[in-house]
Every structure is written in structure tokens, then in C-alpha cells.
């Protein structure tokens, strides 16, 4: 039993990171119909920037805040320099642009930072807490609570604030949004910035557990994309459920079978779900969006 709990806690921790990456996909997809494969690089930039600022003597909290701000700026620049000029290009072209951007960002990270694996200390100590026989890292709780807080804040932003609703309106009907005076270009910029900030926060929260290096973005983007598809691209609740599910499947497979099969098991489950429900688990919400 304690073994099972152990796998659940590690699965949820990894799953929360996937959920945040999936949420990043969703934020950008909703605002612009772009599937941004550079999403994983935001996580990498969040972690790596924090590492280097911290190693240079910046207090950890300040390094984290700066890393999120810098990454958000990178997200905005990605939109301004690569995506916006290609407005109207086909979906495939836009995906290729974002893949190109991710390779570029990885290259820059390799030069600005280095090729080593890094971490910074956990926020509140490294000693595991024992819950019902399972050992849980305090940082895992930070990841879970932080993830929940990010989803919660964004939920309030989109349901309570006028700007949040303006982003939703832009996603729902760009023409109509312009006709009520919404600057839809600014809403896209905001979405890219938000999405990058969410990715960076995931990197900041997870790096003490998962470690980071210049090349972690590609794998995370794939997992986050899979989680977003599993939960239905464009649905925030789907991102949350898809991410946690993916993390749990991986942890269970790694725990009970072999970690060699964890990626394969995850993708088999995703392919099966998408075969039965092509729109993903929250597919009806997607149909409504159109």
C-alpha cells in the first residue's frame, strides 16, 4: 500500500509539471490557434535562469521571480518576432516555426548557460516527510500546491476579470472582439507572455526534483502536448486532468513494470483514448468553442 502511495505522489508531482506545460499549450492555442512546440523551452528557461542567477549570488526567491519575468519576455518576443509575422500561414507552417524557435532557444541556452545538469536547493529543505508510510519530498508539495495555485489564479483571471474575458472573447471570435474595441494583437501578446510565465514557474517549482539542463525542453513539450491532446487541446481542465493522468500512468508503469516502458505505456494509453474519443477526454467543450 505504501508503495502505491509512493507512486501516486511521484506521479502527481511529475503530472503537475505536465499539466502546467499542457496549460501553456492551451493558453496559446486558444488565443491564436498556434500549437507552440517551444512550450518546453519556457520550462527550461525558467529553471536554468534561476540556477544561474542563484549561483551568481541572487537570493533564490528573487532569482525565481526574475527567471519568470525574463521567460515571459522571451514568450512575448517569440510571438512578436516569429508568430505574428506569419499570421495567416498554415497550421503546419506555424508548428514548424515554433519547432524552429525551440531549437533556436535551446542553442542560445547552450551558449548563454552551459551543457551541464543543474539544480538549486529545494525551497523548504530536502528531507522527505513520511505520510502513511510513503516518503514525500517537501518540494513535491511545492509543485502540487504551486500548480494548483497557478490553475486557480488563471481560473479567476478568465472568469472574473474583464481582460481575462477579453482573451476568451478573442479566442472565441476574433472579428467580434475587434468590433467591441479589443486590441486582439495585444491579447495574443498577453497569452504568449502568460503561457511562458506558466512554463517558467513549472521549471522553477520542479527543478529541485527533476534537475534541469539546456535540453530538457523537447521532452517536456512532447509530454505536455500529449497531456493537452489527452485532455482536449484548448480546455484548461483537460490540461490539468491530462497532465496528472499522464504522470500517474508513467509512475505506475515505472513502479510496477519497468521504467523502460513508462513512455511507451503513456503513449499507448493516449493513443487508445484518442482512438475512442478523437477530441480527447473533454472533447465536447472543444466543439462548443467553435
Amino acid at each position: 500500500m505504501y508503495e502505491f502511495l509512493q507512486f501516486v505522489s511521484s506521479g502527481m508531482t511529475v503530472g503537475a509539471v505536465y499539466a502546467l506545460v499542457a496549460l501553456g499549450f492551451t493558453l496559446i492555442y486558444n488565443a491564436s490557434d498556434v500549437v507552440n512546440f517551444a512550450q518546453g523551452e519556457f520550462v527550461m528557461l525558467g529553471g536554468m535562469t534561476t540556477v544561474f542567477l542563484y549561483d551568481a549570488g541572487t537570493p533564490l526567491w528573487l532569482a525565481a521571480v526574475l527567471a519568470v519575468m525574463i521567460t515571459a519576455t522571451v514568450g512575448v518576443l517569440l510571438n512578436k518576432l516569429a508568430v505574428e509575422p506569419a499570421r495567416g500561414a498554415s497550421v503546419v507552417s506555424l508548428i514548424i516555426i515554433t519547432i524552429g524557435a525551440s531549437i533556436f532557444l535551446r542553442g542560445v541556452a547552450q551558449i548563454v548557460f552551459d551543457k551541464q545538469i543543474h539544480r538549486f536547493p529545494a525551497f523548504t529543505g530536502e528531507d522527505p516527510i513520511t505520510v502513511a508510510g510513503a516518503a514525500i519530498l517537501p518540494q513535491s508539495l511545492w509543485v502540487l500546491m504551486g500548480g494548483a495555485a497557478i490553475f486557480g489564479v488563471l481560473y479567476l483571471f478568465f472568469t472574473r476579470s474583464v481582460i481575462g474575458k477579453a482573451v476568451l472573447a478573442t479566442a472565441n471570435n476574433r472579428l467580434a472582439a475587434k468590433l467591441v474595441g479589443i486590441n486582439t494583437t495585444a491579447m495574443m501578446t498577453l497569452s504568449f507572455g502568460l503561457s511562458a510565465a506558466v512554463g517558467a514557474l513549472a521549471g522553477v517549482l520542479a527543478t529541485p526534483i527533476t534537475l534541469t539542463s539546456y535540453d530538457v525542453g523537447g521532452g517536456l513539450a512532447l509530454k505536455g502536448f500529449a497531456a493537452a491532446m489527452l485532455g482536449s487541446m484548448g480546455v484548461p481542465a483537460g490540461a490539468l486532468v491530462g497532465g496528472l493522468l499522464l504522470g500517474l500512468i508513467e509512475a505506475m508503469t515505472a513502479g510496477y513494470i519497468s521504467s523502460d516502458y513508462k513512455d511507451a505505456a503513456a503513449f499507448i494509453v493516449i493513443l487508445t483514448v484518442l482512438f475512442v474519443m478523437p477530441r480527447g477526454l473533454f472533447g465536447r467543450a472543444v466543439a462548443e468553442r467553435v
Binding site: V162, K165, A166, L168, A169, N172, N173, L175, A176, A177, K178, L179, V180, G181, I182, N183, T184, E288, R289
Partner: protein
């Protein structure tokens, strides 16, 4: 109020407006009538700035807005209820109206919303429902109400009667007429020429991207060419 000179616009290589001249004076209801594909929607899209003009000029209340971004024209007082309603289907009726007031952040928004509900009482009943679930007529009312929430001095209406049952057409056009007394200047685009000319002060007839006839509404209703081509008389 609104002065359009030699306006041209194209979709790719194909020109859809071949030099349109049009004038709307403060307080008027002006209508543009014409068959399907004449270019009426393209004209309104250019006026609102969601479609670029390739030549010509649009002057609104003294400002040349030909190159002004769409969302800024709304701020200047030029609003549109577009063809096909284009409501925010995934948001509530109330949120649609609040977004109509996106540029306004003051207590008058509540008052404006009450006025919109007074014009279209059904929207008050449905205020918490998703706009996508409204009937076609209700969606049309919402589209007009949302445009009014922007506090326009000039409102462009693209085929508000399209696809509505005859009784609703009359109701919607009655409201359009009543907007005039609220001080809103109106440019109404319609295929339903008779209904539109009936409530308008002046009218323009558009054919394949050009204005071919213009005049007082009564003159147009009496004009044999208009009667034959558009009034089915």
C-alpha cells in the same frame, strides 16, 4: 458624421469595391441595399477597419480613419453589428454585453446594460445563459445590444433581419428605428430593400462593388429601377 470617398478594397487580386462614395449625416438613418454579393458587407468591414481599404478615404467625425486600427475606431464612436451576428458563443449573454463595454470602465456601464435590456427584454431573462444557446433572433438582438454597449455615435448594421421570421424582422427594425431617437446615427445594410427603405431617411443602391443609385428613401421606393430590381414590384 461619416464621409466615404472613392473607397476601394480587394480580396487577393479581386477587387470587391470599385470606388464607393457615401455620406452619412448626423442623426440620419441611411441604408445601403443591394443583391447578395454586391459588396455591402465588404463596405462595412472597411468602415470598421477589419478589412483594409486599398484606396480612397474614410472620414469619421472629422478624423481620417482610413488607416486607423479597428479597435481604435470603436473608441472613436464607430460600432458595428456584423453580418452573421458574431456573438461570443462560449460566453454568457451578460459577458457579451460587458465586453461590448470593454472600453468603458465606469458606473454608466450598468445603466447602459439596463437600457439594452429595456430595448430587448428577452436578453435580461437570458442574461446568465451561454450566448451560443440563444435562438437566431435573440442572437441578433444581442449583437445589436452589444454594439450599443460601445456607446457609438454611429452604428453600422449588417443585415439585422437576415434569417429571421417575419415577425422578428419587424421587431428588430422597430428597434433600429427607435435608436435614431436615442441619438445614434445609423448605416443599415439590407437585402430586404423595402423594409430598409421604409425606416431610412436616405438610401444607396449597390451593384457589384459600385453605388449605382442614391437618393431620399421615398424617391428610391418610387424609382422604377429600384422597384423592378429590389422591391419585386
Amino acid at each position: 458624421m461619416l464621409s466615404v470617398k472613392d473607397l476601394r478594397s480587394r480580396y487577393g487580386r479581386i477587387e470587391a469595391l470599385h470606388g464607393v462614395d457615401l455620406e452619412v449625416k448626423s442623426g440620419e438613418i441611411v441604408t445601403v441595399v443591394g443583391a447578395n454579393g454586391a459588396g455591402k458587407t465588404t463596405l462595412l468591414r472597411c468602415l470598421s477597419g477589419v478589412q483594409p481599404a486599398s484606396a480612397g478615404s474614410i472620414v469619421f467625425r472629422g478624423d481620417d480613419v482610413t488607416r486607423v486600427a479597428a479597435h481604435r475606431r470603436v473608441g472613436l464612436g464607430l460600432a458595428q453589428s456584423p453580418e452573421g451576428r458574431q456573438i461570443f458563443t462560449t460566453l454568457s449573454v451578460e459577458d457579451n454585453l460587458r465586453l461590448g463595454a470593454f472600453l468603458h470602465d465606469d458606473p454608466r456601464v450598468e445603466q447602459d446594460m439596463d437600457e439594452a435590456f429595456a430595448l430587448f427584454p428577452i436578453l435580461r431573462q437570458k442574461r446568465r445563459q451561454l450566448a451560443g444557446g440563444l435562438s437566431g433572433g435573440q442572437q441578433q438582438m444581442l449583437a445589436i445590444a452589444r454594439a450599443l454597449m460601445t456607446r457609438p455615435s454611429c452604428l453600422l448594421l449588417d443585415e439585422p433581419s437576415l434569417g429571421l421570421a417575419p415577425i422578428l424582422v419587424a421587431q428588430v427594425l422597430d428597434v433600429v428605428k427607435s435608436l435614431k431617437s436615442l441619438g445614434v446615427t445609423l448605416l443599415l445594410v439590407e437585402q430586404n430593400a423595402f423594409a430598409a427603405l421604409n425606416i431610412a431617411d436616405r438610401g444607396y443602391v449597390m451593384e457589384t462593388g459600385r453605388i449605382t443609385i442614391s437618393g431620399e428613401a421615398e424617391e428610391l421606393i418610387a424609382d422604377p429601377r429600384v422597384r423592378e430590381a429590389y422591391l419585386g414590384i
